[in-house]
Symmetry: C2
Subunit: 351 residues, 2 copies
């Protein structure tokens, strides 16, 4: 029966309205044969193949991925649940993951949560991807907990990229936040600071930043420094804790502030300007990430996280899991970054 011209979402005459049956008819073969050519799996005679390919091209056929997925009970689609794309670290990760996915023949679709919303919104994004029944899932940093993922681990392989992961059912390819924290803390201590502030966001705001903050504080205390822990518990803003830091500096209680991200550190540098605080003469400031374009120009002392390595490895692992789940033993890998010297870390001011 010919299709109704009213079929929504696929106007007649449009390539999107062309179905496999149309291709089959034009190529004078059965639908099954067209499918075989499309899949590239079964043997099809040379002549038939050419006819089918020609018909596809002539009609501008775009296979309906939806129907393919439903019929085959599988997809080449893999999903990426990405955190805040405004953050250059995630923007870069996004690009690298796509590049690698393409190399591996995986079709990447991405979902980003609304940056200013919390865990509920991230879960909605997760369901969007799961509803599409993606063949694999990459979860980038964010506030989704392993427990939220747990119910789905039997059905879909999950790789955590760039976020701390310790769940035994989730492969982890992360930045080594503890080592990173220790590297930055070590440099600050070596510069001679004895009393510093460390900005520590709540774990619900960012698991990575939380871990970095805690790591820096622990490391510095281990070295005998006096550490003021400054909480930053608001979601989607970087100004949290600035007031406290300024007060501490003014009171002569600290000579340096260690931020868990460049974003927070740079925001503070503007604030310091506004307050008339000179960096590094009056106080030192450090960040972490080191991937912002032009970071060297800004002179922020930071640590560069290995985004590309993490993307390459993450996709490699997911690809293996998608193809043969059993062949991959779950591990939690961590990649440390490299110190990025800058002009915002100096010796403490003489008092």
């Amino acid at each position: 029966m010919p299709r109704d011209a009213e079929t929504p979402g696929a106007a007649v005459g449009s390539p999107l309205a062309v179905r496999m049956d149309d291709v089959a008819e034009r190529a004078r073969v059965s639908r099954a044969t067209v499918s075989r050519v499309l899949m590239g799996t079964a043997r099809v005679s040379e002549a038939t193949q050419v006819r089918v390919l020609d018909a596809m091209r002539e009609l501008g056929y775009v296979p309906n991925t939806i129907a393919q997925g439903l019929a085959a009970r599988r997809t080449d689609l893999v999903g990426l649940l990405l955190r805040d794309p405004r953050n250059p670290a995630y923007g870069l990760l996004h690009a690298e993951v796509q590049t690698e996915a393409a190399r591996h023949g995986l079709q990447l679709i991405s979902v980003v949560p609304t940056p200013t919303e919390g865990v509920e919104d991230e879960l909605a994004g997760l369901r969007r991807l799961l509803g599409l029944r993606v063949g694999g899932l990459m979860v980038s940093t964010g506030v989704i907990r392993a427990a939220d993922l747990e119910p789905f681990l039997d059905a879909v392989p999950v790789v955590s990229v760039g976020r701390i992961e310790e769940h035994p059912g989730i492969y982890g390819v992360s930045y080594d936040e503890d080592t990173n924290a220790a590297i930055v803390a070590g440099r600050v201590a070596e510069a001679g600071h004895r009393s510093v502030a460390v900005i520590i966001p709540d774990i619900r705001v960012s698991t990575a930043e939380n871990r970095r903050g805690l790591g820096m504080a622990a490391d510095l205390e281990g070295r005998g420094l006096d550490v003021h822990r400054v909480e930053a518990n608001s979601f989607g803003t970087n100004v949290d804790g600035y007031d406290d830091v300024v007060s501490l500096v003014r009171a002569g209680s600290i000579t340096a502030a260690l931020f868990p991200s460049d974003w927070r550190a740079l925001g503070f540098l503007d604030r310091a300007d506004a307050e008339g605080l000179r960096v590094p003469e009056d106080m030192s400031v450090t960040g972490i990430d080191g991937v912002m374009p032009g970071i060297e120009r800004m002179g922020l002392t930071s640590l560069r996280i290995p985004v590309r390595e993490v993307a390459v490895r993450g996709v490699e692992v997911l690809d293996r899991m998608v193809r043969d789940r059993g062949s991959v033993e779950i591990r939690h890998e961590r990649f440390p970054g490299t110190f990025l010297p800058g002009r915002t870390l100096g010796a403490p001011p003489p008092h």
Copy 2:
């Protein structure tokens, strides 16, 4: 018939393996009724509704979007084809579009092409989205031509965001690149420069950058300045043309270089440093975009494009088109940006 335990992609016991029939059975209703509750369209008795909702929750049911889309011949999914996520302008756009889509109840999925590949790769991304039979499409800046989109316009509404658009079948919500170019050019001229370089990428590299470059050159020539057009035709790199600019400065032929993006301008500042050229004492440099985090700190003279306005308007229009195509008359809107003063534009050096 109970499902085979081998069903791939949906292990038994996982919520992803739960089908609507399972929910129906547990709630002691028909599949049709479950569907009605899920859709929220038809009337269902209070009691039945509660039973169905309970069953869904107890089983952890995640509706199969694939099957829904196939059966309903429509989707709430809208696709965003985004250009290079490493570019902060697109990262910001991505975040804003998602925020707006969520407000409008649209489910956004994004596809990014591999940054270093060309138009073929972007077309593959387009097909990925079309294969999913998204209900609407937002196309961000990139090298895809209107002609590539044309065959699909009958079937799916398309809104161009942040990229020049002139096709009568595609709604355009763009940056006003011509005005933007004129603004920057005007400031350079006012600063007293009489001979400058304008970096002009090929249209296949970036339609937006191409337009900006041509616009700046035309405006300056209109003002009687001597303009050296520097081509930049490589894909995925910002260093193209740097050699030429350095030579022109060394030869005393120009006193300023106008780049069509901050990315290119910042890259050049590093090069200038390496060459021992002081900015703005020896030469002036300008960019365009103004959305990079910390841009003020870097001091680059630039122009800030109105990303949020474009995202808000683009999603608003797409939403209307998705709901009732006929209600929207195609237009091409343009939003100008605002000048961003910096330290890299000064008076020309005395010779």
